[in-house]
Amino acid sequence: MTLVWLILIPLLGGAMSWQSGRWSSVAPRWLALLTLLIGLGLSLWLWLTQDFSLTGAGFAAAADSAPADAVPQWTLEYRAQWIPAIGASFHLGLDGLSILMIVLANLLGVLAVASAWRDTDADPGFFHLNLLWNLVGVIGVFLALDLLLFFFFWEMMLVPMYFLIALRGYNPPGGKSRQHAAVKFVIYTQASGLLLLVSILGLVFVHSQSTGLLSFDYHDLLDTPMEASVEWFLMLGFFIAFAVKMPMVPLHGWLPDAHASAPASGAADVAGLLLKTAAYGLLRFGIPLFPNASLEIAPVAMWMGVAGVVYGAVVAFSQADIKRLIAYTGISHMGFVLIGIYAGTEQALIGVVVQMIAHGLSAAALFILCGEIHERYGTRDMRQLGGLSTPMSNLPRLFMFFALATLGLPGLGNFVGEFLILSGAFSVAPLIAITASVGLILSVLYSLIMVQRTLHGPLRASTNNPSPSPVDLSWRELTIVVSLLILLVGLGLYPQPVIDTASASIHAFDALYAGGVSP
């Protein structure tokens, strides 16, 4: 039942926050913050008290015996009737991978609310409703073990995000409007969602054909016997659906627009969470459901990852809008994740988990800082910024820190992720790992040019600078960003808690690749 609470808390909190917006502009913020703190506390409590290293967790036990009749095990599981007629149930399961992602989601949620605290918003209730319900979808995706339920949550992330961008977003000067960005986001995700739905239905159909059992349950659908060509097509449906969300080049077009138009400070980091759901979807569903076809597509997928690493970095380098720049670095970083997922060695997969968390933290911090810059100078356009190091003290050095984290400085979380992914991939696909290493050089290029154009050089009196001497970060802002800094350093110097938590679930996927990838 605890698992249901993980979903119910933000769901109820969102509704309450929305309604309280009718009579107060402060209450929604407090309610949302409180709700998310409870959610964060609950997920942390689960992380600390539950045992995620179960020897029988995931497929690990099966790896030793016969993988064919593997029954995944979960640290916590919840199952209730939903639509028995078609074999869909409300089935949730928690393992090491999902708890890490849920903690991350709750944490970023808290930070999003906190960093949007001073936003002058006409309707804070509605804003927080969308923020929280978006998180409901994200957390649901991380928990769902029924494919119909998974699809339900997958779609549930979409609508609140649309409203966040379309109604509360920001029109970048010279760029497309926020409505355009929102519609683009919806079309990309809906098209891929449709593909996902068709593939799910196809899989269920194939399964009921061969076994006579109509079920959407993850356990039932695993190891569905099917022809190679059918498996190939169904896998492709899942793969493309997740690739759009990831996003994989060239299906990434929605991301920079969505990020650039998302509300100034807070919600952008939540937008970053959506990317992690795609990687999670591949790890949880895309590969285990179609192991053979996934193995075949692995080299292609890894090369697509390399393309994302390089392409994202090159485009990031030439952006003028800081937020677009950070969005493109996200594409580059998720390229590493794609490589890691399909390399499939234990090291690479652990690297994927660390990389996702590290990128979640560092990109969130950069988005928040970027929001603070925007708040103070009225622009995010680096052609109008520069020399911010002079009037302020804390913001520039923190910005510098997270820029260094983005370029993969050892000692910070991103390095651990990238190193594990690349060294893990090198043992199965040396050429891919070497080509992807070019991304390490490119990441320096875009990070440093970003630092140069915002912090260094002579101080530019921006034309629409609202105040001549902008104030430095407040205590609230400082707390948010410094807590991210501490987490990133912790992840970089001692990632073991994360690794240990994830390793049982990772062994499961690792075992699927026992046959080996042939790039």
């Binding site: 079309i187 080049v249 060239p250 299906l251 990434h252 077009g253 920079p256 392409y311 090159v314 485009v315 380098f317 030439s318 952006q319 234990e346 090291q347 652990i350 020399g387 190091s389 002079t390 003290s393 050095r397 260094l404 400085l409 050892p410 000692g411 390095f415 651990v416 190193f419 594990l420 690349l422 060294s423 090198f426 043992s427 040396p430 790992a433 070497i434 290493s437 070019v438 390490l440 050089i441 320096v444 290029l445 440093l448 040019i449 140069q452 912090l455 260094h456 050089g457 002579p458 101080l459 110097l493 001692y494 990632p495 073991q496 690794i499 390793s503």
Partner: protein, 621 residues
């Protein structure tokens, strides 16, 4: 020795944390106390541990302190373990010893700068990273320090961030070295795949069993590590960043870009000596890279006018000697030269710093002149440093450089030996060109270009004199230090006969260089100008001044195409292409909507045609 190594690293690290948090709330004196004091503590502890290590050797010659396991994934478990052996002890001494005096000097040099605390926080972080680099017993931990020093170098080169030129120099340094670092990273992947670990000692012990001499994988691994080394140590072909790095404050140039960080490549290769011995080809590459770099840099230094750039090319050239030494198998010679070079090059840079401040931030040597009367102490320092640099008999540089050339000849590498000899001639020529132009001759008018120049800090300060005096003594007597490296490296094989000529030729060549410098720049000062005016010599001179055109070449090959590509693709061409789909759909929609025109005759016609087609299909199939 309980936890001494940990404290040696912790002192600068803690100072960094304190200084970066409390930055502008501390007075300059407190900052100097923390910033310099922390390195002083490290240096003091190094003395203690060094004494213990030498007086009471531990079994196996290795003492280590494990901190914690960085990450453990399956069998891959790199640890944060500090390891002290003879080789790291040498580096430790240089980093903390020379580092302390440079910090002390910097506390004088940087006085009055608004970023005083920021400066020392970066400097302390640098020392901490450098200590990690030399004490690491795992390659990944070494890489941790390796990148750390790179970032500090970036931060300090661009320390005066208001000038975009400094930012560009800093970025260039970081990016170029990162190219090398990435090669090194691939080397790490290979070593990990081959040995299942990145623990240095394990790799070095397993390698001779796994690989026979000349093994291809060994060669790849060595060449990739060499890639990292040439990046950090500013050797061909990744040497272009070092002269630009002189944009940083002068103590930074002394510490990072002369004494410590740039020699990290030499240290890396020495550390992996057992691996390089397995690959004669890689070792030959090391030597050749060193020889070519020392020549190219030597010629370039001849034509520079900026005092710091002369010293930068000189550093590049001297590190070339160290690579050359490693290439011929004279690893102790390389380490010896690394140590003595740290002394005299730090001395030269710090003296240059004093000159620059006295001249109100003027760096062009042709706007100086006759300074020996105005700055007598600095003159003595600069002269001593230069004498050590040109390997004048019985100075520190004499012993180390002589050994390198001697070993190069003995081991039968006569080509490398010749290159070293020509390099020695160039060294004395450019060094004494600097001495004669700056300190002798007429005092040239120096109308300061910088109107806002602050009055130069008084040179009458202990924190100015002590570092110079100590480094002066070390540059004179440093050659008598006996490094505890006996038996650490394989002895180079003697191939050629020894002779007195070989031993004394370098000295003769150096003296000839000094004489020629005296001729050209004091006796016949119109001659260089005449040569510059001449077509042929003028062209060669311009080529040398522009460092053989590497910057232009790389700009043409890499920088401009990349920037062009990025600018062209600013609007994300792939996104635009996908954006064609909705446009196409809209076009299709509007085309189709043309049919919905309410024209009854049209509808009837289309229906009739459709019917005919259908009927036809039914009938004829």
């Amino acid at each position: 020795m309980t936890h001494l190594l940990t404290f040696i690293c912790l002192a600068p690290l803690m100072a960094f944390v304190v200084l970066s948090i409390a930055r502008e709330h501390l007075s300059e004196t407190v900052v100097a106390l923390i910033g310099v004091g922390s390195i002083g503590v490290s240096a003091f502890l190094t003395m203690i541990i060094g004494y213990q290590f030498l007086a009471d050797p531990v079994t196996g010659g290795v003492y280590s302190e494990s901190l914690w396991t960085w990450m453990q994934v399956g069998s891959f478990a790199p640890t944060f373990t500090l390891k002290l052996d003879a080789l790291s002890l040498v580096m430790l001494g240089v980093v903390t010893g020379v580092g302390f005096f440079i910090h002390l000097y910097a506390s004088w040099y940087m006085r009055g700068d608004e970023g005083y605390a920021r400066f020392f926080s970066y400097m302390n972080l640098f020392v901490a990273s450098m200590l990690f680099l030399v004490l690491a017993d795992d390659l990944l931990f070494l890489y941790f320090g390796w990148e750390g020093v790179g970032v500090c170098s970036y931060l300090l080169i661009g320390f005066w961030y208001k000038d975009p030129a400094n930012g560009a120099a800093a970025r260039k340094a970081f990016i170029v070295t990162r190219v090398g670092d990435t090669l090194m990273m691939v080397g790490l992947f290979i070593l990990y795949r081959e040995f299942g670990t990145l623990h240095i000692e394990t790799i070095l012990q397993a390698a001779p069993q796994a690989w026979i001499t000349g093994n291809q994988t060994a060669t790849f691994a060595c060449l990739l590590l060499l890639g990292g080394a040439v990046g950090k140590s500013a050797q061909l072909p990744l040497q272009t960043w070092l002269p630009d790095a002189m944009a940083g404050p002068t103590p930074v140039s002394a510490l990072i870009h002369a004494a410590t960080m740039v020699t990290a490549g030499v240290y890396l290769i020495a550390r992996f000596e057992p691996l390089y011995v397995l690959s004669p080809f890689a070792l030959a590459c090391v030597g050749t890279v060193g020889a070519i770099t020392l020549l190219l840099a030597g010629f370039t230094a001849l034509m520079q006018t900026d005092i710091k750039r002369i010293l930068a090319y000189s550093t590049m050239s001297q590190i070339g000697y160290m690579f050359l030494a490693e290439g011929v198998g004279a690893f102790d010679g390389a380490m010896f030269h690394l140590v003595t070079h740290a002394f005299f090059k730090a001395l030269l840079f710090l003296s240059a710093g004093s000159v620059i401040l006295a001249m109100h931030h003027e760096q062009d040597i042709f706007r100086m002149g006759g300074l020996r009367t105005r700055l007598p102490f600095v003159f003595v320092c600069m002269l001593t440093g230069s004498l050590a640099l040109v390997a004048f008999p019985f100075t520190a540089g004499y012993f180390s450089k002589d050994e390198i050339l001697y070993q190069a000849y003995l081991s039968g590498h006569h080509g490398l030996w010749m290159a070293g000899l020509v390099g020695a001639f160039l060294t004395s020529l450019y060094s004494f060109r600097l001495i004669f132009v700056v300190f002798f001759g007429p005092e040239r008018s120096h109308h300061t270009t910088d109107v806002h120049a602050s009055p130069a800090p008084s040179t009458q300060s202990l924190s100015h004199h002590i570092p110079l005096a100590v480094l002066l003594v070390m540059s004179l007597l440093g050659g008598y230090i006996h490094l505890p490296l006996d038996g650490l490296f394989a002895e180079p094989v003697a191939m050629s006969a020894d002779s007195l000529v070989i031993e004394y030729l370098p000295v003769v060549v150096s003296l000839a260089g000094i004489a020629l410098a005296w001729m050209l720049f004091l006796r016949l000062p119109h001659l260089p100008a005449a040569m510059a005016a001449n077509g042929l010599t003028g062209t060669i001179g311009r080529l040398w001044r522009n460092a053989w055109g590497f910057d232009a070449l790389y700009g043409l090959l890499f920088v401009r195409p990349f920037v062009w590509l990025a600018q062209m693709n600013r609007n994300d061409i792939l996104d635009q292409i996908i954006g064609v789909i909705p446009l196409g759909l809209r076009g299709l929609g509007s085309t189709l909507s043309l049919t919905q025109n309410g024209n009854l005759r049209g509808f009837a016609a289309v229906s009739a045609i459709g019917l005919c087609v259908l009927l036809g299909m039914v009938l004829f199939t």
